[in-house]
Structure formats: structure tokens, C-alpha cells
């Protein structure tokens, strides 16, 4: 789930709280929208500066590293931090509440009450470079000059592969029977257009229905199509969704591939935080520049970093987004994909490379350069035969392709206009002549549904023709006893025939006008579709958590204890000290103990009793105010009741959680 979707579901009271966060508030006052603020790098940098040495910053660091945008239960983060650092659970819980308050993480609640927290999927690419930047500088120019490319092929970008596959669904939607058998020839055609290997996407761990009949490539192509609403599910079929596809086709291939990258990163990458962080890190790299593969490890020592890096590079290579090479025996890579392409509407790209979207050769071949819009390619598939999908895609006009184009609603003029507009030139004469020849016989004959008025014999036919009103409604006489009549005139004509003594029987079947199909709305298109691939941990299925944590909910029973317990260290009786320790363990809170004349902070995690004697186990926390020192896990320690007299329970500051 992304920021916009999260905010949309957010209770107004919590939204209002976020808006009072100082870093957010000053931007709102500048006229920015909350949705934009919470995705903007400048806000993220300002927030980090404002909360430089706070628990919430350290906790954010950890949750980004461990979960990225994968939803998590607070207890899991507490446990994980407890294992690796000296952070107390209470500190983590309060830090998480503060991160919610800052609009950095959001919460949903499962039906049975458990809370799930998550970082919106579109902010992983915001926080990862700031908190867990990728190590490794690009190769120096003299090193880059020595790189030998080792990628064995230059596959077409994913956007092209998907387009070709989706085109097969336009001609033949993918259907399945009630028993779940997919229509094999359609699956074969669909899958045949996807040339990237299944191995390349194995790292995404896709699980999906009909896995026995559907290759992973086909599953992801269907899933992306449904997710983008370029495809839609309707009863037992998946077909092209006209308006959704129209939106997708408005993109240039570069824009489309950048979008696809983000979908992979957010939709499939979140299943594994390590993979998602690597994907985010690679996203930030400059295209066309060589980097060392060995440095593709997130700084914070991700144990699986190297594997994730290699898997993600393999995936990108298969999708035509990346080239690999060798530099003095070291594996290197460079992106071919620009994750921030210039918008096609700006016209900038055209200015740099003034090239027609299409070039029409006099022999009827159409050359389509790489930056041609997807829409043009989609339309060309209707009117021409594909020849080559390569750096330049080549199509060929043919008699058969013209017949196909005619069936798709094109006529000579529209094909000519399409080609001339895209090529910015009149058609070469031989092409214009060929198209004229090929379109000439099309449409001269067609099957039509018409309403036929049948009479028993020529005498009856002559009789009804003699009535001038009826004669006006008879469009055409066929043979000596039948007429084609206007279907709209059915009622009037029936009445008239009854008047003159030839009552027709009631009509049983109503003929639908083919024209009405064309204007058919597609209500299915507006339905949301969860896609084809099962998305684990989808927070979208749960309600946004409407509850804001107050002090009592964070520390149950807080109001029942003497206020002095949490105010300052004092000497207490051993029984009271034991109660305090027990309460602190319950709250996962820290305690301040005066041991050997000096006050030290302890994170208690267990109490062992032996008759009247008791011992508390836990860890000493450094009293250094540096957050970093608390991230280092200390040794398990044991403190006897006799070792201290003065103590207090230390709760994290709840100030920032309070509301006006």
C-alpha cells in the first residue's frame, strides 16, 4: 500500500495528528499537500535532521532494514531489536507510535485485533538511500573503457514483451472452464510472446492459481496487466480492458519500463525486504554507468545482500534493463533502464533525437525506433504483420494484415492517416497503391442482420405493397414475396398490417443492433482486481487502525501505580522493588538502579525467586546518550535484590504523542 492509499483510509483524527508534526506542519503551511509531503525527499531529510538522535530514528533504521515495506507486528520488531541491541520494548513501542505520528509508518488492525504496521511501499525508495545507502563508487572512466560486455543477449525490454503478450489477449481472451482448465492454445500463444526465462523471476517467489498450467512468466504478465487495469477479469476470462489499456499505451517504452520497475519493486519485492532494498538501491543508480557487482550489498551488512544483488541483477538483465560485463576479472554491471525518464509529453526527448515515430519504407516495411509510443506499436499490430522485434521493430503491410485491420475497424483512410501522422510524411507511392489495392475489395460484401418480412406468396406481397404507408417502410424487395424492413418500424408496421387484414404473429426474437456493442460500457473495468499472483501480507484487506495509543494503552495500569515510581529514584522496600521490577518487565520498560553508589540503567527481562531472595536478569544499558551505543547488544547480566536500594521505572517520553 502506498502513501496516498494509506492516507485515504486514515481516520481523520490521526491525519490531524500527523499534520501537527512540526516537520510536516511547516510544509503544509507552505501550501504543499500531505500526500506529496510524505513522499518527498526534502521532507525525509528534514525529519532525519530534526530527530537525529532519537529512538524513533534508530527504530526506523531497523525496520527499514528488516522489513522494508513488508507489514510487521510490533512484537516482531521488538524481539528482533531485543536480540541484537539494548533497546527496551517500551522504547520501541513508543518510537513506533511516534513514527506513526510523523506519518512515516501506518497501522492496520486485523479482524481479531492484532496490529500490523507498515512503511508505505512507495517510501522504500525514499528511506533506503538515506538510511542504508549502497556502498561502492562507479568505475573510473579508464576502468570503464576496459569493460567487456558479457551479457549474452540483449533482450527486449519488459514493456515490449508484455505488449506482445497482451496483444494476443486482444485477439483471444484467456479463458478457463468451470473446473479450472485454462484454454491451452491461448496460454501457449500468450506465453510464447514472453521470452525472458522463468529462472529470472524465481527470486520473486510467485505463488498463483493454475501454477500447473501456467508458466511464471505468464502469471506475472497477467498479474501486472490486471494490477495496471490494462487487463480485466470477467466471468471465466481475462481480456484487454479498453480504457485501462488506453492509459498504459499513452506511455513511451522508457516511461512504461520505469513504471514496471516500480511495480516489481513494490508489488513483488516486498515479499523479501533484502530484495526490495537492493531493488531500491539499484533504482537510484545512474543509468549507463558501470558499477562493481561485489559492492551491491546494503551497507548495514545484510547477510543475504550478495545473493539478493545477484538475483536482482539477473532479473533486470532478463528484462532488458541491465548489461553485465567484466572489468579485469571483476563482475560489473550498468543499467540500461532510466528510472526517471523524461516525460514524453514534454517533447524534450524529441528535441534531442529528432526522429519520426515510424518510418514507412516503399516496400511496405515499417521501421519503429525504440522510443516510439506503446500506443503506436499496439495499433501497428492491428494493421501490419510483425517481422522483427529488435532495437528497431519491423512490421510489414500485407493483404492479410489489411483484412485484419478492416475487421478491427480500420479503413484505408484511417490506416493511411495513422501511418502518415506517425511518419510525419506522405506515404510512399508504392505503399499507397498497395494499400488501395488491398483495401479495395474489403467491405464490398458483408454479412448483415436485417429484419425480413416474409409473405406467403407473391399475391400477398403485392397486396401489402399497394398500401402507401406500408410501402414506405419496405426497404428492399427480395424475390417476389419477401422484403427487408426497418427493424425500428416493427411496431408501426405490425399495426398497419393488422389494419389491412394481415396480422403478423408476435415477434419472438429481438435482433440487437451491432452498433450498440461498440458503445458498450465496461463496468467490469472499474472493479478493483487483486491481480493473478497471491500477494502475501496485503495490508489492503485490513481496516486502518483507528486507535491512537495513549499512555495507558502503551503501559497498561500506569494510572494505578504511585506516580513516584516513574518520577525519580528512591529507596524502596524489597517487596516494592520486586513489584516495580515485575511491572517494568510487563511493560518491557527500563529501570534505573543505584548500584555501588552510582545510578545505572537496566533492561530487565526476567525475575528468578528463591524463597525471599530474588534476582533480576537483563542487560545493562549504556548511559551514553548516543543512540548508537544502545544498538550494540550487551551481555546478559544478573542483579540481586540486595545489590541496590534506590530505583525507578524509566518510561520513554510520551510528550510527542500527546495531542492538543
Amino acid at each position: 500500500m502506498n502513501v496516498a492509499q494509506s492516507l485515504l483510509r486514515l481516520p481523520e483524527s490521526i491525519r490531524a495528528l500527523i499534520e501537527t508534526d512540526p516537520v510536516v506542519r511547516e510544509r503544509l503551511e507552505d501550501g504543499q499537500y500531505l500526500e506529496d509531503i510524505l513522499r518527498c525527499r526534502e521532507w525525509a531529510e528534514a525529519w532525519l535532521r530534526s530527530y537525529l538522535d532519537t529512538d524513533q530514528r534508530a527504530v526506523l533504521n531497523n525496520l527499514v532494514e528488516r522489513f522494508a515495506s513488508k507489514p510487521f507486528e510490533p512484537v516482531n520488531l521488538i524481539k528482533s531489536l531485543g536480540r541484537s541491541s539494548a533497546f527496551a520494548g517500551s522504547e520501541v513501542r513508543v518510537a513506533l507510535a511516534k513514527l506513526r505520528r510523523s506519518g512515516i509508518i501506518f497501522a492496520v488492525r486485523k479482524a481479531w485485533g492484532d496490529q500490523l504496521l507498515y512503511l508505505p511501499e512507495d517510501t522504500v525508495t525514499l528511506w533506503q538511500p538515506l538510511l542504508l545507502p549502497l556502498g561502492g563508487e562507479p568505475l573510473a572512466p579508464d576502468e570503464a573503457a576496459d569493460v567487456t560486455v558479457t551479457s549474452s543477449a540483449l533482450p527486449l525490454p519488459l514493456s515490449m514483451e508484455l505488449l506482445s503478450a497482451w496483444q494476443t489477449l486482444r485477439r483471444q481472451p484467456l479463458t478457463w472452464t468451470g473446473k479450472g482448465s485454462l484454454h491451452r492454445p491461448t496460454v501457449a500463444k500468450f506465453t510464447g510472446e514472453l521470452r525472458f526465462p522463468a529462472d529470472a523471476i524465481r527470486c520473486l517467489n510467485l505463488t498463483y492459481p493454475h501454477a500447473d498450467q501456467l508458466a511464471p512468466q505468464a502469471a506475472i504478465a497477467l498479474d501486472i496487466g490486471l494490477h495496471l487495469k490494462a487487463l480485466m477479469r470477467s466471468d471465466n476470462e481475462i481480456k484487454v480492458a479498453p480504457s485501462g489499456m488506453e492509459n498504459w499505451l499513452a506511455l513511451s517504452p522508457a516511461e512504461a519500463d520505469a513504471r514496471l520497475y516500480d511495480i516489481l519493486l513494490t508489488r513483488y519485492g516486498k515479499a523479501d525486504a533484502g530484495l526490495q532494498l537492493i531493488a531500491s538501491a539499484v533504482r537510484a543508480l545512474e543509468p549507463g554507468v558501470w558499477f562493481r557487482e561485489s559492492r551491491l550489498v546494503i551497507d548495514d551488512g545484510n547477510r543475504n545482500g550478495e545473493r539478493f544483488g545477484l538475483e536482482w541483477l539477473g532479473l533486470m538483465e532478463a528484462f532488458g534493463w541491465l548489461e553485465r560485463g567484466d572489468c579485469a576479472g571483476e563482475a560489473v554491471y550498468r543499467k540500461r533502464l532510466d528510472n526517471e525518464p523524461k516525460l514524453s509529453q514534454s517533447g524534450e526527448a524529441g528535441a534531442i533525437d529528432a526522429f519520426e515515430e515510424l518510418f514507412v519504407q516503399p516496400d511496405g516495411e515499417l521501421f519503429v525506433p525504440p522510443d516510439a509510443k506503446l500506443k503506436l506499436r499496439w495499433m501497428l499490430a492491428d494493421i501490419a504483420d510483425p517481422v522483427t522485434s529488435d532495437a528497431i521493430c519491423i512490421y510489414r503491410l500485407s493483404r492479410n494484415a489489411c483484412a485484419r485491420a478492416y475487421n478491427a475497424g480500420y479503413v484505408l483512410r484511417s490506416v493511411t492517416e495513422l501511418l502518415e501522422q506517425a511518419s510525419r510524411a506522405p506515404l510512399p507511392e508504392p505503399v499507397a497503391d498497395s494499400l488501395a489495392d488491398w483495401f479495395a475489395p474489403l467491405g464490398k460484401i458483408k454479412f448483415a442482420e436485417a429484419m425480413l418480412l416474409r409473405t406467403e406468396d407473391a399475391t400477398v406481397a403485392d397486396a401489402i405493397m399497394r398500401d402507401p404507408d406500408i410501402a414506405d417502410m419496405l426497404l428492399e424487395k427480395i424475390g417476389d414475396r419477401d422484403f427487408i424492413v426497418l427493424s425500428e418500424s416493427y411496431s408501426v408496421l405490425s399495426a398497419k398490417l393488422r389494419q389491412i387484414g394481415y396480422p403478423p404473429p408476435d415477434r419472438i426474437q429481438v435482433i440487437s443492433s451491432p452498433a450498440s456493442d461498440k458503445n458498450e460500457n465496461h463496468p467490469e473495468e472499474t472493479k478493483s482486481d487483486s491481480g493473478w499472483v497471491y500477494a502475501p501480507d496485503a495490508v489492503g484487506v485490513y481496516e486502518a487502525d483507528p486507535v491512537w495509543p495513549d499512555a495507558e494503552s502503551l503501559f497498561p495500569g500506569l494510572s494505578e501505580i504511585p506516580a513516584a515510581w516513574i518520577m525519580k529514584p528512591r529507596a524502596y522496600h524489597a517487596t516494592t522493588r520486586k513489584k516495580m521490577i515485575q511491572r517494568a518487565i510487563e511493560w518491557e520498560a527500563l529501570v534505573r538502579l543505584e548500584v555501588d553508589g552510582s545510578a545505572r540503567t537496566f533492561v530487565p527481562n526476567g525475575l528468578r525467586e528463591d524463597g525471599d531472595r530474588w534476582t533480576v536478569s537483563g542487560r545493562w544499558q549504556s548511559d551514553d546518550c548516543e543512540i548508537g551505543t544502545r544498538l550494540d547488544k550487551s551481555e546478559q547480566a544478573f542483579v540481586n535484590a540486595e545489590q541496590f536500594t534506590d530505583m525507578m521505572i524509566v518510561l520513554p517520553s510520551l510528550d510527542a504523542l500527546e495531542t492538543d
Binding site: P362, E365, A391, I392, E429, D437
Partner: protein
């Protein structure tokens, strides 16, 4: 703003060159060295790499690295890895296997022992490779029997390994011959620069394997002259092979007219005459003639009847398989292939490379046109409606008969008349596929007709009269498709053609491409019956011309008033 580069390199080995680009000419020159022009129908020209084009480039002195660097400089997209591999693999193999003459006969030398092991492991090659005597033992050298010289080259080329043949040639029987300075009628005998360059490229001693190869020149560029000049330079007995009898006559006429050879020196070896003389001109047909399928080809003996120093293969792209086989056995003889295209309909370009030799020289059609060596030509397709009777015959006929009915459309006679009236006085060829149609036209227009059934002498007489300007119009069947020299023909009217042979259309156009004395443009008309399958077949044939840079315009015949 940086101007994009002129070339796109596709991963299937296709190269797309933008003719409008300022660097186009320079890039085109480079591509000609490493790839073959596949087509040039409009502003984008298509070239292709093949193993043979890459070997030709290597034979011409290019290294793979230099090719890759030059390619990267003019390519708009990064070079696909497959292309880099293709170029390296094939080009680097050139020169790794050499054939040389040594003390004990022919020796095949591999660059490395591993390569020699690979060669010995090949099923058809291993048994041919003998071992050196123990005293000279080497793991990179194998002995090859001299009669296996062609076989080893052909088999290795078929497996992607070119052999650089440095075994040299034998000189053949010496023959006193020179080019005349002027013809008997007083005209000057001049070898054009490009023809001399082609001979130099073939026989120059720059490379040790020089002496054999193929010269690619368009129809009308005077390929015969390259043959004559090579013959005069080598001064040896020569066998000339051509596709048909008319061409034999024309070669003999040119030899006698332009060289110091006399009739006593020049023999014709065809179906009608079997004279083997110091220079013998034969047809492929007679060489591959045999009485039954079981019998061997008796006339192939011609290759070894005399001590030929040179064999010239005219229209080498038509070379039949049995001639390829015998050619494998005479690799010590210099060979010159002449053709307008390296593309063979049977795909045996590799055999031509291995057995005739690498491409030594090429000048494309349009370049010759721009330099005035061949005439400019305009091509027009004239759509001719069927009369109502023919139209109903056409509709009722089975599919296999329709092409002929459309081809023989009687209304085409009216169009031919109109065109002849329009070009009255200009030497014109009317070319057709169907003899009935040609006979009918001949009768109706009172014009002479040449068909395959006409004796060669009579054909030659008519061609001579046409060339001498005594007759303006000749009707010809497909016998005139190849190797017929009618330099003054300026108009060609094709009344019917075969289904879709691209080669035929190009050859017919080639008949009228000789530069005209008055500099006039040549015109090629193709008459096509409107509304019939002929339109589509014609489109397929015409596509080849379009690809060569000759656009077609289409006109529709609407009676006498039509302006074509």
C-alpha cells in the same frame, strides 16, 4: 543538439542505414566491406552480415576488432553481444586454416593443435587429412591430396571454417593474347577504370591467395570486359562458362572484336557445336547434360581436356551443383566468377566462396548509375483491365490456370501498341512469358520474335540487326533474361512474367541499363491485369527492384487516351 548516428545494428545481424544522414556515404563504404546489401527500397538501406561477408572482409584485410570499433562508431545503439560474437567468431577464423604447397604436396596448416584436433574430429574432414612423415611430425599440419583441395575447402566452409588457399595456381598453357587498341570498325577498345580495378583486385599479388574470386557488377556494367581484361593479363588458355547459347555467341563475338584472338583460337562448346580450342566458351547446360540419371556427366571432361590457366564463370549465381562439384577438383586453376548478385536462390553462397573464391570487387547498381556507367531507368506498372469475356474466364478458371489467363490478357496488346507508338524509333524489347501470347503479338504487330525454339544463328542475326539499328522492336521470350547484350535497348515492355521470380524482374531491367549514346533514360513497363492475382505477383517481383532503389509508379490503362 547531437546528431544521432546513421546506423542501427539489430541482433539478428541486420544493419539499417539511414541514407539521409550526412555520414551515410562513408558508412555505406564501410558496410560494403563487411556485409551485403540486402535491399534499399527507400531512405533506409538494409545490409546483412553472413559468414561469407565476414570472411570476405577478413580476406580484404579487416580484423574483427577494427570492424567492431568502426561499427560502434557509426551505430546508434550499443552493439548487441550476439553481433560482437558473430563478428569475432567468423572473422577470427579466417587465416587460422591455410592450404600451402610443400615438398610432399598440399599441406593444411591449423593455427593451433586444438584446432587441428577439431578438424581431424570432423566426420567428413578427418579421413582426408593425412599425417606427415614421422621425421616432420607436427600437431598443426596435415597432408591433403591435391585432388581433395576443393573438397576440404568446401566442407570446412560449410562448417563455418574458411580455408585461406595459399597453395597457388598453375599457369596453364600459355596463349598469346592482347586487347586490341581499336576494333575492326575503328572504335576504341577501352577498359573502364572500375573494370581494371576489378581485375587488379582479382589478380593483384597483395594476398597470397589472390588469383581467384568473384567480381560483382550490375547488369549492363560490362562484366564481360572484366573477363577479357583478366584473360589478356594472364595470357593463358581459358574456359568460359555461361548460362545460355546466346551468351556464348556474344562472348565469342566480344573476344574476336576486342582481342587479338582469331576464330582459330576460340571455340564454342554447346549443344550444337563441340569445339575445344585455347579459349572455349560453353554453357552450363551442356556441361550438366547426360542421357540418364544413372550416367555421369560426360561433358564435365571439358574441365580437364586442356591445360586451362583460367576458368570464367559468367552469372556465377546460376552455377549448377554438378559444376560446383567438378570445380572442387580443379582448385589449382585460377577462377573468376562474374555476377550481379551474390545471393543464390539455393542459398549456396558458402560453396561459391569456398570453390570460386572470395568477393574481390563490387560496385553497386545505384553507384554505377550516379557515375553514368549505366543508364537511369524509370519503372512503371501499367494496370490493364480484363475484357468481360476474359474476366469471366478468369473467375471460372481453377486457381492454377488463372495466372496464365491474366498474363495473356488480350487488352495488353492495345497497351503494347500505345507504348510502341509513344517510343517510336527507340530500341524496344517486348518480353513475355507465354509463347502463344508472344506469337499473337508478333503476328498482330508484324514484329520479329525470338524464342528458345529459334536456332541460335537466327537469334544472333536478329540481335545483330537490333544492335545495328535495322529493327527497333524485338519480341523476346525468357531466353533473353540473361547474358544477352543489347546495348541500345532503352525500352522494355514486360507483357507477362513468371509468378514471383525477383531475379527475373531484375535481369529484364538489366537488359536496358547500358548507358545510351544520347544519354536518354531507360523505361521499364510491366503490364499487369487489374483485379487478378497478377497484381500481387507483380508486386512481389517489383519489390526486388524497389529494394535495389528503383521505385515503381503505377498507372491504370483506360483506353487509348491514357497518359502513361
Amino acid at each position: 543538439m547531437t546528431l544521432p548516428k546513421p546506423l542501427w545494428v539489430q541482433s539478428d545481424g541486420t544493419l539499417l542505414l539511414d541514407e539521409r544522414h550526412p555520414d551515410h556515404e562513408e558508412t555505406r563504404k564501410f558496410l560494403r566491406e563487411i556485409a551485403e546489401l540486402h535491399k534499399r527500397p527507400g531512405a533506409w538501406h538494409t545490409y546483412r552480415f553472413t559468414p561469407v561477408t565476414l570472411w570476405n572482409a577478413a580476406a580484404a584485410g579487416w580484423s574483427s576488432e577494427r570492424v567492431l570499433q568502426s561499427l560502434a562508431l557509426c551505430s546508434r545503439n550499443p552493439l548487441p553481444k550476439q553481433i560482437e560474437d558473430l563478428i569475432r567468431t567468423y572473422m577470427d577464423r579466417y587465416g587460422q586454416i591455410r592450404l600451402v604447397t610443400g615438398d610432399g604436396g598440399l599441406k593444411l596448416i591449423a593455427a593451433t593443435p586444438e584446432l587441428m584436433d577439431r578438424l581431424r574430429g570432423m566426420e567428413t574432414i578427418g579421413p582426408i587429412l593425412g599425417t606427415l612423415p614421422e621425421t616432420e611430425s607436427s600437431d598443426t599440419i596435415a597432408l591433403v591430396a591435391s585432388e581433395c583441395r576443393g573438397t576440404v575447402k568446401r566442407e570446412l566452409a560449410a562448417r563455418g571454417y574458411p580455408v585461406k588457399d595459399e597453395a597457388g595456381f598453375h599457369a596453364g598453357e600459355r596463349l598469346e593474347i592482347e586487347l586490341r587498341t581499336e576494333t575492326a570498325s575503328g572504335g576504341p577498345v577501352i577498359v573502364r577504370d572500375y573494370q581494371a580495378d576489378a581485375v587488379e583486385a582479382l589478380l593483384g599479388e597483395a594476398a597470397m591467395d589472390g588469383g581467384s574470386g568473384i567480381v560483382v557488377l550490375p547488369c549492363g556494367a560490362g562484366k564481360t570486359w572484366v573477363g577479357l581484361a583478366a584473360l589478356a593479363r594472364l595470357r593463358c588458355e581459358t574456359l568460359i562458362l555461361t548460362p545460355n547459347g546466346v551468351s556464348v555467341s556474344q562472348w565469342i563475338a566480344e573476344l574476336l572484336k576486342n582481342t587479338t584472338l582469331t576464330e582459330a583460337d576460340v571455340g564454342e562448346y554447346t549443344g550444337r557445336a563441340k569445339n575445344v580450342k585455347p579459349v572455349t566458351v560453353a554453357t552450363y547446360q551442356v556441361l550438366t547434360h547426360r542421357r540418364s540419371k544413372e550416367e555421369s556427366y560426360p561433358h564435365l571432361q571439358l574441365f580437364v581436356n586442356r591445360d586451362w590457366g583460367l576458368i570464367i564463370y559468367d552469372e556465377v549465381h546460376l552455377l549448377p551443383a554438378p559444376v560446383f562439384r567438378i570445380t572442387a577438383d580443379i582448385q589449382a586453376t585460377r577462377r573468376l566468377g562474374l555476377t550481379a548478385t551474390l545471393v543464390r536462390e539455393d542459398g549456396r553462397e558458402g560453396d561459391a566462396f569456398a570453390l570460386i573464391g572470395p568477393k574481390r570487387y563490387e560496385m553497386p547498381w545505384k553507384t554505377m548509375e550516379s557515375q553514368g556507367w549505366i543508364a537511369r531507368a524509370s519503372c512503371t506498372e501499367v494496370r490493364v483491365p480484363l475484357d468481360s469475356r476474359t474476366a469471366s474466364d478468369y473467375t471460372a478458371a481453377p486457381k492454377r490456370s488463372r495466372h496464365r489467363i491474366a498474363g495473356e490478357n488480350p487488352v495488353k496488346a492495345e497497351v503494347v501498341k500505345a507504348l510502341l507508338r509513344r517510343h517510336i524509333g527507340t530500341p524496344t524489347l517486348v518480353i513475355g512469358q507465354y509463347l502463344d501470347q508472344l506469337h499473337a503479338l508478333s503476328k498482330e504487330l508484324s514484329l520479329p520474335l525470338i524464342t528458345g525454339a529459334m536456332p541460335h544463328r537466327s537469334r544472333k542475326r536478329l540481335f545483330d540487326r537490333f544492335n545495328d539499328g535495322e529493327i527497333d522492336v524485338l519480341l523476346v521470350s525468357k531466353v533473353a533474361n540473361f547474358a544477352v547484350d543489347l546495348p541500345d535497348a532503352a525500352i522494355a515492355i514486360q507483357v507477362s512474367g513468371s509468378y514471383g521470380s525477383r531475379q527475373e524482374e531484375a535481369q529484364r531491367l538489366g537488359r536496358i541499363l547500358r548507358p545510351k549514346r544520347n544519354g536518354t533514360e531507360a523505361s521499364f513497363y510491366s503490364l499487369v491485369s487489374e483485379g487478378t492475382d497478377e497484381v500481387e505477383f507483380s508486386r512481389n517481383r517489383g519489390r526486388f527492384l524497389l529494394e535495389q532503389g528503383y521505385p515503381y509508379s503505377v498507372d491504370r490503362w483506360q483506353g487509348e487516351e491514357t497518359r502513361i
